[in-house]
């Protein structure tokens, strides 16, 4: 635990020292949200189409920002230092926690801008927020481990999109489904079944984190 906190503090300190990753990620998220909103203009779309566009922006924001934590260690040659001083498990968890919070910030900004510019009427705010958090957790947990792989493979960002898309398809389907539901008037919103997609996203994240925890040490130790 102290190792995780130490490493997490280090990542946060580095991030806030130059804020390059955060600035770039936020700029990408903002520009893509604004560009898409401006292209669509004031034309109203069905809730499903709105949800698809919102999640595509979120997905590509994740791809462009989340692999950076590992790629930075490879680029700055600090990976050997980390390997000598921290266990693989603590490095994995610190990067995962960093990515989850980092991505939540990006998601909140994307969602606020998208809802504002598209004038979306959210019918179930709880489901909308839970869908964003659940989907964000699943995206962050998957892209953290895949980012570690890409960092070892010379850090090509296009490679991350290629390898993450097949694994993230169920997450995107369920996240779109939950956001669509939250934008559609539904008399059954108090029924627990209404939140099925959230359970799915949490289960997916749990399995992905457990699998990553088991296999991360092999990525970390490979030369």
């Amino acid at each position: 635990m102290p190792e995780i906190i130490k490493n997490l503090k280090k990542d946060i300190k580095i991030e806030f020292r130059n804020r390059s990753a955060l600035n770039l990620a936020l700029a990408f998220a903002l520009i893509s949200t604004l560009t898409i909103s401006l292209i669509i203009g004031g034309v109203p779309l069905e809730p499903k189409k709105e949800a698809i566009i919102l999640w595509l922006i979120i997905f590509f924001s994740a791809i462009s920002s989340l692999a950076y934590t590992f790629i930075r260690e490879e680029e700055k040659k600090t990976i050997l230092f980390l390997r000598l001083n921290f266990s693989a498990e603590s490095v994995y968890f610190s990067k995962l926690i960093f990515n989850i919070f980092f991505f939540f910030i990006i998601q909140i900004i994307v969602a606020i801008f998208y809802v504002f510019f598209r004038q979306l009427e959210i019918q179930s705010l709880n489901l909308f927020i839970l869908g964003l958090l659940g989907g964000g957790l699943a995206l962050a947990s998957t892209i953290t481990i895949l980012g570690a792989m890409v960092a070892k493979a010379n850090g090509q960002s296009s490679l991350l999109a290629v390898i993450s898309f097949p694994l993230l398809l169920p997450v995107l389907w369920m996240a779109v489904s939950s956001t669509t539901k939250s934008l559609t008037p539904n008399p059954f919103s108090s029924n627990p079944v209404f939140y099925n997609e959230i359970y799915f996203l949490l289960a997916f994240s749990g399995i992905m984190i457990a699998g990553s925890f088991i296999f991360f040490k092999f990525i970390w130790s490979s030369q």
């Binding site: 481990i145 792989m149 070892k152 493979a153 010379n154 090509q156 490679l159 290629v162 390898i163 898309f165 097949p166 694994l167 398809l169 169920p170 389907w173 369920m174 489904s177 799915f200 289960a203 997916f204 399995i207 992905m208 699998g211 990553s212 296999f215 092999f218 990525i219 490979s222 030369q223």
Partner: protein
């Protein structure tokens, strides 16, 4: 494994049974004969994926380095897997065009096989981005295992997203097989022969690459 060599008999026998002996399915005519190739190819593409992931798992946890060549075998299995996946998609699309009117219908099984193709493409892209080393093999192995770990989620989601057009003769709610006996026998022989063909080709590629 001498039994695998029976493939030399089984494949011609399978072709004969599929094209001559088995009767066409009522309403579909000779078109239904695609079934005797499409179903086993789909099965082999999945089997190749499972075996590639299993080899990867053994390779990763083999601390004494007893099975150092397993990662190459895993790669070879995935290579055969992608070929059979493409064959499955092409044969399935022909079937879809002739019986449902369009090459692509977003049926759950069509979608599942495309997801499998995407996973294979991603796996090969990942491997091709790294020079040949232990690192490359380990990372490729982990990717395949992660893909297998989340496979149940696909099984859960895809039927809920896309309504099915596929006939459901093998697994259905009544657990009965609604097929003519000759078709059942031909299909069974077909599945066995293409499974043997897969193992035979895998052995050949493994030997050649060693």
């Amino acid at each position: 494994m001498k039994i695998i060599k029976t493939v030399y008999v089984l494949i011609p026998l399978n072709i004969f049974l599929a094209l001559k002996w088995a009767p066409p399915v009522r309403g579909l005519g000779d078109l239904s004969r695609i079934l005797f190739f499409h179903v086993p190819w789909a099965w082999v593409s999945l089997l190749a994926f499972l075996i590639a992931a299993l080899y990867s798992l053994i390779y990763l946890f083999d601390k004494k380095n007893k099975f150092y060549s397993l990662e190459k075998k895993s790669y070879n299995s995935a290579f055969l897997g992608i070929i059979f996946t493409i064959l499955t998609i092409v044969s399935g699309s022909c079937w879809a065009k002739l019986s449902w009117g369009s090459f692509w219908n977003w049926d759950p099984r069509e979608t599942s096989i495309v997801v499998l193709l995407l996973i294979y493409i991603a796996y090969f892209s990942l491997l091709s981005s790294m020079p040949d080393s232990e690192k490359k093999h380990k990372i490729g192995a982990i990717y395949l295992i992660l893909a297998i770990i989340i496979a149940p989620f696909f099984m859960f989601v895809i039927p809920r997203i896309y309504p099915s057009l596929h006939p459901d003769p093998i697994i259905n709610s009544k657990k009965e097989i609604f097929l003519d006996n000759k078709i059942k026998i031909t299909l069974a022989i077909s599945i066995v022969s293409f499974t043997f063909l897969y193992f035979y080709l895998l052995e050949l590629i493994n030997k050649k690459k060693n």
